[in-house]
Symmetry: D2
């Protein structure tokens, strides 16, 4: 059994990590920290854990000290010193925040308005969207776990981009996210009567996940991909649906497009290419690590529309972080992640 610790256990992603790791057969949670609730039981903050875990919430240093694997789910700008401590002691550090996702510090400065304080650390960090990056992380000690939007989008576009059939400046992505994506911090926009029975776009063409998405897509395509990305806040708890519009560079049949997807994901347990005539829906992946993808050619315009659904808290955060741990530690990649989605 591996000793794992969670920093930021009382945010949504942190609490989801705890929930999933409790069921992981190879991992044992040895410490959890929370700045706000230090000294309390996790079940006082999230009563679903009543009688399941009575561990007291502690501080970050204690987590680092006790753990062989440290997961951190923190606002951006706070992960570096923890990563450094983990690195120095030889623990695996998996960051669910944004600090180790971008290769280029200039992007980080531009979108997050911060500098790297420990640049050397970032050279050691590996960004890992598991299905697309697993070969790079076998030896990794610091992992940048992808954002929720980038996960749904990169998996949705990978086969087409890889095949080189996408006009790379044509990609438009309209994403819809459940409210847990906004975190547990109180805001008017997430106050129940303000977001129930509502929908709007937000941070139109200016969301911080944009450079991360473009970085991953460009890497796949082997050339610069520029996107228009518009997220929307959806009145559901969990889930992201990304509707992706692309122009093709060549005439390619619906069957050929489908084959690109089924071939690309033939051996991927967690990516399901849906049968023709069906539509990816967040309910079909709820509480699971799956990414569902449906493919819709539009012969009238020569475009292809892809819809991609994940659970933002699982494949979009905690589940993928565990999947990354499994890869690095040599466990079965689906170890502890065999949840069947609860469709209702």
């Amino acid at each position: 059994m591996i000793n794992v610790g969670i920093i930021g256990a009382t945010g949504y992603a942190g609490a989801e990590l705890v929930r999933l790791l409790i069921g992981h057969p190879e991992a044992k949670i040895v410490a959890m920290s929370s700045v706000t609730y230090e000294g309390k039981k996790l079940s006082e903050v999230f009563p679903n854990f009543e009688g399941i875990t009575d561990e007291l919430l502690t501080d970050m240093d204690t987590v680092v000290e006790k753990s062989q694997v440290v997961f951190a789910s923190l606002p951006h700008g706070l992960s570096e010193p923890i990563a450094r401590k983990c690195y120095d002691k030889g623990a695996l550090f998996i960051d669910l925040g944004a600090d180790f996702r971008l290769h280029d510090e200039a992007d980080y400065q531009k979108w997050y308005k911060l500098d790297y304080k420990d640049p050397e650390l970032h050279e050691k960090a590996v960004y890992s969207l598991c299905e697309l990056c697993r070969d790079k992380i076998k030896e990794a000690k610091i992992i940048g776990n992808p954002g929720c939007y980038p996960t749904s989008i990169s998996l949705g576009l990978y086969p087409l981009l890889k095949a080189g059939v996408v006009r790379t400046n044509s990609v438009i992505i309209d994403s819809k996210s459940g409210v847990t994506g906004a975190g547990r911090g109180l805001t008017l926009g997430t106050h129940y009567p303000e977001c129930n029975e509502a929908i709007s776009a937000y941070k139109v063409a200016s969301h911080r996940h944009t450079p991360e998405i473009e970085q991953m897509l460009s890497e796949i395509a082997g050339e610069k991909v520029t996107i228009t990305f518009v997220p929307h806040l959806l009145p559901v708890n969990r889930g992201i649906l990304s509707t992706i519009y692309v122009d093709l560079t060549k005439d390619i049949s619906a069957e050929e497009i489908r084959k690109l997807y089924t071939d690309a994901y033939a051996n991927e347990k967690f990516v399901r290419v849906l049968p023709e005539g069906t539509f990816a829906n967040i309910r079909n992946v709820r509480c699971s690590n799956y990414c569902d993808i449906s493919i819709h050619p539009d012969p009238r315009t020569g475009r292809v529309i892809i819809t991609s659904a994940i659970d933002n808290m699982v494949k979009g955060a905690a589940g993928q972080a565990i999947q990354n741990m499994n890869i690095v530690l040599g466990f079965a990649e689906d170890c502890g992640l065999n949840m069947v989605p609860n469709i209702f």
Copy 2:
């Protein structure tokens, strides 16, 4: 007072017509019909009307006979004979269904798989999205009331298309509709546990509103506009949000774009061009006849993103039908339509 009648009063659009017309100071409901519930009181079907209207539901012919204005909210293919009767007796017929929306019978045949049985009638019919078509309907006797998606989209694109700055084959529209848009007929997809906490696209690039949208947009642009249109089913009762993506044909500043909108809608009570930095949201127009539009240039890609929000049951159906009646009959255009949106 004008005598008005409603055919199909027990569907959602029909019931909304009743609700709004009860408050209309110049109209008096004299008859309502329902095939399924004939002989019952409307309040037995929709208990909100308890004590408000005790009128028994009757048949179509009775409605036509008693009314000076007939509103019909029926599945496609059923409006022609009623329109004929109204026309012959000199009553104004306003069709909330699809039968009088398309100019070209070929489009109707292709998308609705039906022929016109009374083609002459269609020559007399006028499609009227009020803000864009009001000049054409002063003498009209048969009005094709627009669909909900086309209303939100056409109003959202009008100023840009009119100005000739849109690449007309670049228009991509991602719409999200509340469940009332699917009607009151029972289906698995609208069974509560199947659409609550869910979202998916449906009829991707193949929705029947597509030719109606292209017809209106092409008319505005003065050239053929081809769109990609993808609707989504949203877990809310009411509202449509359309997120519209366009490429521009020329370099035009954010201010100039905004001016196109504020100029175009300067005198339109029901179209609100939202302040910079805010986002159209279905909750802000709920139960009202407003269309809210927000404008979002994307300088990184040279695109503009427009989001447009309406209440699908009001501006997208019953409210606009009443607005059309007001125009034809010479009432104030907002007569009976001064509802302030209930934001919560």
Copy 3:
């Protein structure tokens, strides 16, 4: 036209007052205040008002100064000085808060932990649940507008209590309230992912509306009524459903019970005694001033169950406040309150 002002216009009840008063044919809003948003436009806080009211939010004194009728929607403990100013200048003051609801200062001290600072004022104040108290307020200058729970419960029990057939220590009330009832202040319990797909009781047998309910019920019964009252937070925006359980003191038939209700409310526009076999539902009264009541005898136990539904923001707050104004000023009681509920 009467000049009216709203203090606390940016809370939910205050904003609902604005929404309803805009449509009131005899009232004109001359001033609105907000401590938090003073100096802003109301539409910056609630964008549904965009283009409808451009009035800047001001301070309390300005509201009092300009208005013939002042509505206040404030946390308890803040209304006295405003009431005093209104009283001294001869304006009608209608308090939607709790400060003028309880007859006995001891109750106020016990449940609200505050003393009266201006006790004389309270002697002049009249509590008015319109249907039950309208005769007392003709000359009133200070009105305590009832709480939402007390309104639904008192109307639900009035006919039975009045008839003297209720065992007065047997009354159990299980109420379910929409989230707007908790106000616009941010709390974890009203953060979307925490109250969506959830239900629990809260303040079990200890809610502050308890003494107000007992006061009204005792007054009706002519003897002390002691209740068990348990509120629940319901994942909807609007509405209160109260399910009320009573033991009867005598054998009385279902028909006789029904007759007590239909007689008591025969002339009450806003109270609808529902047909046998139907059930009060918050959706049927949404956005309206109605109170729907359904009656369910339980012959197996000798109990009667009453369910009573209101819109907490209208009949439970802003609507009833306007109804009270109408009564005092001699307008038709339903003036400005003829909204047909929007059932979907």
Copy 4:
């Protein structure tokens, strides 16, 4: 590994059985039947199973033939012949329907309007709410799995009734159920726009679970218990909250009451007596087999209020059925049931 089969796999309880049994380490699903969807893959009906189970849906006889344990989730009146076949072949039959819940055929006739066709079978059947009946089922071959409401209510009342401190004709139960409780059959009442943003009671004091609840409570109390039971339909997918009101027969302190509960459930993994000052909430038990109970004395009236929350699909149906199987077959009682509730 035990071979298990599911009859009625495409209803909600059936599909939940499949979902849970897939993760059961000692059971292997060998057959699933559906009258409506026979010959299709389960994933065509519930796409969450895509790529997880490709088994074709078959008929009932095949399920019985292949299985050592047969779970049936059918409308009442259909279980007897299947139970007979299982019994004759020596398979364990666990009925999630109502046919083997009532001891007295007269109750079944009165509430379900049907006779027993195979009365001998009912003598062999054992009703088993696991925590209260596990000792009786060790040798059972036919198990009547409890209804969802009875489970939440019986667990909520057991300690008080067992202690003999409840006035047995005073019990009032106000339950709120998620929409999955109404099943997957299409009805207007479960059409999204009709039950979203809504709440009402239904089958007031006449729900079919009433005799089952009274049977269990009377058995615990050792005397006839008569209840008033009022269910409500709640706009959430899953969960039942029962708010239970009882009069006490003797003066007993809050601490003593709490001790009755903590003692009664000290060794029960799936029943959590919540800390003082907290409230049972369906979100805290979602997708788990827990029953959460909170205790609220009302000193003003001498009553006690208990709130009890379960997931209607798990502890109220499929989870408890598996728990019953575990008991009979000698597996650990929580085998396959260690799901941590997903609170958001």
